[in-house]
């Protein structure tokens, strides 16, 4: 009896319409998606291949030296990098590591390139903030697997749809922190720059962005970490890397291989995290 009230409206075909919409997007923007896919794919493969070509010893030493200087001439991070990267090499996952790194690097870069300007827009306009905030919430809470479906529809399989899914999942922190950082700049400083007759862009580049740098960097750190967490998920649609090993170990119940590949991801995560964080604290 009561259910008749609820059944008053027949089931709304959201799923069908979403599919139709996605199909429409795929067909209509194929002229856009296809060249993106081809160019980005070949660029990423080129990057990964070149990284693989560099002898691992050199890569490990380079990372260690960088870690030494970036952490203020302390040996901790450098030692960890040497041991960690050697372990990955020792387990035969070096090529996977390079692929994963390429994927994380490219998707993080794209996230920052898109995220920072959107964050600036948000900080400048209340309307933009009101519109973009719920979209960011949606992007972050929707299970990441769901993004794989349109990603495949648009870009087929491989690294590019991985980057696409990772973009949607990992960009929000950069946007949010950029917005927050600029809004947190003290009112008096903004007034000072205006009182001397700064134009909008002078105010942004000479005062607001330098002041918000630390906060924005914290957002970028988050973005990089989220991009890394997408690696395993992206491997489901054929993105090469450590994630592939985890996935195949899962499918074949090989707990050993799964563990080793997982540890590889953790090592990469720690190194990347410390790198981006120390760059940040050093600038304060």
């Amino acid at each position: 009896m009561l259910n008749t009230v609820l059944d008053f409206v027949p089931e709304i075909p959201i799923a069908e319409n979403t599919k139709k919409f996605t199909d429409w997007l795929t067909d209509t923007f194929a002229f856009l998606f296809d060249p993106i896919k081809e160019n980005l794919e070949s660029f990423m493969e080129f990057t990964a291949d070149n990284l693989i070509l560099i002898p691992p010893v050199i890569v490990i030493l380079l990372v260690a030296v960088l870690a030494f200087f970036i952490s203020g001439k302390k040996f901790g991070l450098a030692a960890f990098s040497i041991v960690g990267l050697w372990l990955i090499y020792n387990q035969g996952f070096w090529d996977h590591l390079m692929n994963t790194f390429t994927l994380v690097l490219i998707s993080s870069l794209l996230s920052v390139i898109i995220g920072v300007p959107v964050g600036i827009l948000m900080s400048k306009s209340k309307t933009a903030e009101a519109i973009i905030t719920p979209i960011l919430d949606f992007m972050q809470t929707m299970p990441a697997f769901v993004y794989l479906i349109p990603a495949v529809a648009f870009f087929g399989i491989g690294m590019v749809p991985g980057v696409f899914a990772s973009l949607i999942f990992a960009t929000p922190p950069t946007v949010r922190f950029t917005n927050l950082g600029i809004r947190q700049v003290s009112k008096e400083l903004v007034e000072a720059s205006e009182a001397f007759g700064s134009t909008g862009s002078q105010k942004l580049f000479k005062v607001e962005l330098p002041m918000a740098k630390a906060t924005i960097m914290a957002g970028i750190n988050q973005t990089v970490m989220l991009a890394l967490s997408m690696v395993v998920i992206a491997s489901m649609i054929g993105a090469p890397g450590l994630g592939t090993e985890v996935l195949s170990a899962l499918q074949r119940a090989q707990v050993g291989t799964g563990f080793v590949a997982g540890v590889g991801i953790v090592i990469l995560a720690i190194i990347i995290d410390r790198f981006t964080q120390t760059v940040n604290t050093k600038n304060k």
Binding site: S186, E188, L189, E191, A192, S193, E194, A195, F196, G197, S198, T199, Q202, K206, V207, P210, M211
Partner: protein, 398 residues
């Protein structure tokens, strides 16, 4: 022509400012308007003008609208109504580009909490105003350095603001404002964040600097002592309205209403009042015409124990005491020169009262007030005490 002319300037914060302004015209109070319409009156029909080279102080307690008022003048806050004329040009009606030009060339601001850019060095901070005008690097460096040297910070060019004390930071703030050589300095509670000793030092320094550069300065403060110390003229604000405008003396001596009177009650009057405010018209005799006999007669009439002696041009020649004069009469001395004494305590017309204390303390005779070597008045001990107590005949037009 005044450099700054503010006419009927109003600011109402809220959704319906015009409506609130209408209520103000109908005589409603700020509180009543807030209750009825939800709008806050920041500044209510302020009008004043500031002449070139003047230090004009706007003073009021927190919430009186003084900080809003100064921001209306360079339009950091948009006025709801009224005009701000800088050199005759109405800032309130300007488009953004011309406004920016005026801000760059004519108006500079110094902030309460310094508002220095922490990531820039002292020199880069001072350069900011010129940098955004795209002034060539070496030119702006030179000008910024000159401004920093002017405030005594020539040796700190490459430090960051965080490494400096509060007083030094505000000097940087001042140098930054002076570097692009503006006509007008807007100083928003510029010294309020400093501790009292440093604040006094900065006030003195501002006065010294001002003597050399003759800028037009609009100074905001909540500290009456500060206002009286540095202001050529003072505007007192309450609830967004200007209650009284006048010189420090005028405000102290003739408060426009109870509010101002209450305000100035606690002021250390000895720092503000000067000799001319408490002096009396002197009784004198003329050295060329009068002898001891006339002097004695005059003293008896007025009930004095001594009298000043001047020449026809009112140049002070000395004084005679009643004792000496009566002695002279007994001995039949006719020439006043023989009993003339010269050890007269003197002060200038604009000597502050707290300096008069030392002079008058152990003087048996009244203190002579001198202007251009001429006697213009005398001060008796009783007048000083009465003025300190805030009573007695304190007058302005001496």
């Amino acid at each position: 022509m005044p450099v700054i002319e503010v006419k009927n300037l109003s600011k109402v914060f809220g959704k319906n400012p015009k409506q609130a302004l209408k209520r103000l015209d109908e005589g409603m109070s700020k509180d009543a308007i807030l209750k009825e319409t939800g709008n806050t009156v920041g500044v209510n029909r302020a009008s004043f003008s500031v002449e070139e080279g003047e230090i004009f102080v706007i003073m009021g307690l927190s919430g009186s609208g003084k900080s809003t008022l100064v921001r209306l003048i360079n339009r950091l806050i948009e006025p709801t109504e009224g005009h701000v004329l800088i050199d005759g040009e109405d800032l309130a009606a300007m488009d953004k580009k011309s406004l920016r030009q005026v801000r760059r060339e004519k108006l500079s601001m110094v902030f309460q909490k310094f508002a220095l850019f922490p990531q820039r060095t002292i020199l880069e901070n001072a350069e900011y105003g010129l940098e955004i005008q795209n002034v060539a690097k070496d030119v702006r460096k030179k000008k910024a350095q000159e401004a920093l040297e002017m405030v005594g910070l020539g040796g700190y060019l490459h430090q960051k603001p965080g490494q400096l004390s509060g007083g030094m930071q505000q000097r940087v703030g001042l140098a930054r404002a002076l570097a692009n050589d503006p006509e007008v300095l807007l100083m928003d509670e510029a010294f309020s964040a400093l501790d009292p000793l440093i604040r006094k030092e900065m006030q003195d320094e501002l006065i010294d600097l001002q003597a050399g550069m003759k800028k037009t300065i609009l100074f905001i403060t909540h500290d009456l002592d500060e206002a009286l110390r540095i202001g050529d003229r003072i505007a007192l604000m309450k609830d967004g309205s200007i209650v009284q405008i006048g010189t420090p003396e005028e405000i102290l001596v003739n408060p426009a209403n109870d509010y101002v009177e209450k305000f100035v009650e606690d002021v250390d009057r000895s720092k503000v009042l000067s000799a001319q405010n408490i002096m009396k018209r002197p009784e004198t005799i003329n050295i060329e015409k009068h002898g001891p006999r006339v002097a004695l007669e005059r003293m008896r009439e007025e009930g004095l124990s001594s009298i000043f002696v001047v020449d026809s041009k009112r140049n002070l020649k000395g004084y005679v005491t009643a004792d000496d004069a009566s002695e002279a009469r007994k001995k039949d001395i006719r020439d006043i020169h023989e009993i003339l004494k010269n050890d007269i305590p003197r002060v200038e017309k604009d000597t502050a009262m707290n300096e008069i204390f030392d002079v008058i303390y152990d003087s048996p005779i009244p203190v002579a007030v001198i202007e251009n070597d001429k006697l213009v008045g005398i001060i008796v001990r009783g007048a000083v005490i009465a003025a300190l107590a805030g009573e007695g005949e304190v007058k302005l037009d001496a």
